[in-house]
Symmetry: D2
Subunit: 370 residues, 4 copies
């Protein structure tokens, strides 16, 4: 371990390794400190939907940022494969946001007005996905809301960052961060201290402690999601099905990923029997035949929620050496590229889109989303 | 592989390796041919309850045989550990057969008259297991219906048999069996033929084909059982809970084994999502807090059912070289020791309990059970 | 289960499901009977190299057949994704057959004369793969010898066949095959008998029994291969490295697959400690830094070798209802498409390339390969 | 989470949960904060040898303490089973410390003088373990150096503590510890702060940061150990074999646990290919046939080494609210009971054996061991 870097990133989830990738590619001496293994906590647990539309109920700043990140994935798919040899398994089927009730339909219609969305009648839905449940009142089809395999994205970013010269320290929990005597910042890990010109806090729901250590009273709330996967050896399904924050995502491998519960305040990263039962039940309301498929495995992860539901992406209000990139809630996979670019631009003093800077700054007063 | 054995056993499940163990211990040159790995099919899938009482609704020949086998396990626990070094993880808590309805109570009372059973009032049940569901009308407590870990029993029998000189061939499917030219029997495997003075068919639900090849028109029916296990880190529970063919078995490891569905005619050995959901639901009717425990894993196995529900244990009616030990349905783990001894006694021309011989012989006309 | 099909395929490895896919696509009523799960035995164990050049030391009929199959994969990659939704994870880096000795070099030069191969000097090798071991005398680079993920190919073929109307029976071991009373063939499984106009034996090394049952004295020999995979988080490597029947295959996932031992006559499908140690050691002679990577998992599989090293692909000499497609040795993944097409052409009475028919027919007298 | 406990334990490895168990049993309101899952780091990685003799080269204070802990396990085996329902899988075969060279023999002889040890001639060794490698010059046999299954010990302590009223928080990393405003101590976790009268640092190799935060300059060094297990289906072996810090431990399950490398300074908790290869090689020098057994799995863990090789067990020199129990190096499993009792005695102001207090106190000047 070097004793001094240009930038230290705390957290090796998808946000942290995206930042490291973009910084290292820009020639900055970068190190990531991850308490366990890269991408093995909330990132791996995610289904990987690039749901710019799926996760928004209406257009606005958040949606614009999400769209920019979604677009960045198009470029990154080939770039990461070329740099790292790793395929992020982009799946292009798009998503069907299903309406089962009139109120679903009304809500979905708001987004259907966008060019990137297309409203489908029930008949059109069943033509596309004949095994969807009976009784659908229509669906919003968004071709651009594709999905990727999150752990592969993490591995690709991390390996890419390494090959551009970054250090990635796994099994390296950070305990504290403070202003360094000679300028910049200093972190404390089990294996010693390290310093840097800049540090970026990218520790998901575990970021709250570092905010506190740095004098900021921002809280993070875990919203645990429990998931399972099954082997789809017989149902033709090419689009993600989505309803009421539950989804069925068809992977290239032949698996279907099914998620997820929403258990606020639960810090335990293991699924329990009730949670898996609840997810299965919900999935059958969208795709009844899914109950007959073989179970692959069950897991859980913690979505990092903030007070207003938006991530913090920006500088410390009083210390330019410290940056934050945490609190992406359900959107960490989607927003990783744009977050990595935005933090890199800040560190390199490049111009930032003012609306985004304003929306995600740490000392904001109001929510722009929800 | 030798070309000639005294006895060949077809099938390396718990029945087959028990037979091999008892034969090898008696000095017979024995070989087991198993299509996959020892004990990895129906045997491993079982919860391992030695449910002489749990599985019987009334006393009789089947019950007597089951009790004899249950008793044999007492001796075998120490013997197998000494011979093989493997502990079969006997768990001594006994079983509570719960009554939730008046008809449950009436049925359970029939067995409660036995010395080995004890009727408990609701209050007595809750004193023993305070986390059992509300609304219980009483329970039949059977101290002797303990449980073991089936895969460990299989490994212990198999290793014990080897150390007594037997050959255990794994990954050795048998395709056919026939009378050998020079007397005895001849089997055909992928890696060649082998002969023996005696052959024992112990292939569980897959035994039907061999019966047919040997001129006997006996059918076997799979009844698939789907199970899961959870980690019990907090609920005091020392007895198996049992109701309506569903059970919660507390292992020494801290796991609870929960089973099982009854899917007749399903030959697929993997669990599906519906099955696991159904088992969880049923378990919660007995132990509501179980839903909050962490999932360990899910699996399935095929119980081998016969036309009258009893196993076939005995000689071919027309060929003394051929014996059968198959069709143990829900009772394979329980009956393995007595079956192993009975087949060994037959091959060694020792006397057999006439009632058992009659009850389990292959050419019987009527059911003694159910 | 229907009682009568047009074609029954015995064996759900990659050969069996390729045949089923091609037949079902051609509109034939087809059923596959697989003793375990599709692709889970030798197919899954393979590294998936489409090594038309890698596995041949000189041009000839076998090479031509292999090249045709390799070419078929180009079409199939997109077709299978479209039909089944499953991506077979084709990896396009090609292969480097390394020369460490003068005799290596001489042997490799024979293939280097082909248009599809390219001889590289040591310097050129290190430019392409800077982490290859020191001391290389050159390498044969074959761009077309790409690789796929075998289990995904199997799943794609099987799901595709199903969607074209085929039945795929898993956990359905076949015990015997014979001429049916009313013409065609009859097989016996644990769950009953089935008949068909044609049957294809595609059971890999386990095919010998069926040859025997059908009056043909052809033997199959297992050559067990033990493998492991490691996570490559840091070494840039884009091509398969190959030397002395050992290989390091870079997967899109970031894993390196390392194989394989050659243990003739070993029917056990599990790896042992010695085997894994031997493979690791060999891999380090090609890529020294591989020893520092984290282990993913270990496994083994049985390559089906025939007397002359070539597969049997063709009709029974005396019974047109019976066909064989077995004994592909190290080349099952590579040859699956061409084998599936050739068997389909035979059943549909389409013309076959005479040289291939002659080379692979069951009653051939001499080897064309090795 | 309560806001105030009597004692907070930081770390849910075997040391932490032993302390919590003993405190809760004594009626103290106790909470454990564990960053991941109970016992899943170094504790689970250990083989579980209670090697009071195996790990000491000569008698002395350390040895006396180890013997006391070894003896405590005798009582705990039954107690933990009764309290928690979990069996810690004590295996009573003892250990053979093998001498292959004259210098081995000389060193082993020092301990052989103890009543609890027995020197065996080569012939006596081979009578006990006929499959041990040729060329042994003798062995020290210690019957009391039995072994347990560490993860089961951890689960039993943790569940027992819970049932005595303790709170066990998993997935609860602690970031800092400091004196609380109103007396006692205050810790900061991701999910909030908690206070207590006493805190015990029991975080293994990760304890160094907390020492520092509390003003003590003690360093901890990881010594990574890589292990594998194989399935012993055929070798009679009832004693642990030990030589040159390498061991082969026969489990009740039929597995052999083989360990371990000694990689100083490596914080990564995953095994690499080189490490596993090295361990296998060493194991074969003791038990040649082990190479033919099937691999079960591979893993690694970090032993926490201190500057003088002894653990720190005692109070903070200047703050009675803070205690330490960390740095048990290779002896965490062995020393867990005595450490738990000693810390509990300190908190309850019971008398402590002065020699132990002196040997393990935090502000000691010299090593008593090594």
């Amino acid at each position: 371990m070097k004793k001094r870097y240009e930038t230290i990133v705390i957290g090796g989830g998808i946000i942290g390794v995206s930042i490291a990738y973009h910084l290292a590619k820009a020639g900055k001496q970068t190190a990531v400190f991850e308490s366990g293994e890269v991408g093995k906590k909330a990132s791996r647990a995610a289904a990987g939907m690039l749901g710019a539309h799926a996760e928004c109920d209406k257009p606005g700043t958040f949606f614009e940022f999400a769209r920019a990140s979604q677009t960045a994935y198009k470029r990154l798919t080939a770039e990461l494969k070329s740099v790292s040899g790793i395929d992020i398994r982009r799946h292009d089927g798009g998503i069907l946001k299903l309406a089962f009730t009139e109120s679903d339909r009304a809500r979905l219609m708001e987004m259907a007005a966008l060019d990137s969305a297309e409203w489908l009648t029930p008949q059109e839905v069943y033509e596309k996905e004949p095994h969807a449940a009976k009784g659908i009142l229509g669906a919003n089809f968004i071709r651009d809301d594709v999905h990727v395999e999150p752990i592969s994205v993490c591995r690709a970013f991390a390996k890419g960052a390494k090959l551009f010269g970054a250090d990635i320290f796994e099994y390296a929990p950070v305990f504290s961060i403070e202003a360094a005597a000679g300028g910049g910042v200093r972190i404390q890990t089990a294996s010693g201290a390290a310093e840097a010109d800049h540090a970026v806090i990218a520790s998901g729901v575990w970021s709250g402690v570092f905010f506190q250590q740095l004098g900021l009273n921002k809280r993070f709330y875990p919203v645990k999601g429990e998931c399972l996967s099954v082997w789809n050896d017989s149902i033709p399904l090419t689009r993600t099905l989505y309803h009421d924050h539950c989804y069925i995502v068809p992977r290239h491998s032949g698996k279907l990923v099914i998620g997820a519960t929403m258990k606020a305040g639960d810090w335990n990263e293991q699924p329990d029997a009730d949670g898996i039962e609840a997810v299965m039940k919900k999935a059958k309301t969208m795709l009844p035949r899914i109950g007959g498929l073989k179970i692959d495995r069950c897991w859980a992860g913690l979505r990092p929620e903030t007070e207003d539901g938006n991530p913090y992406i920006g500088r410390h209000p009083e210390n330019d050496s410290i940056l934050f990139a945490a609190g992406h809630f359900r959107n960490g996979i989607l927003l990783a590229p744009a977050t990595g670019e935005m933090i890199t631009d800040m560190i390199l003093s490049r111009p930032i889109e003012p609306a985004w800077e304003e929306a995600f700054k740490v000392d904001r007063k109001e929510a722009v989303h929800k």
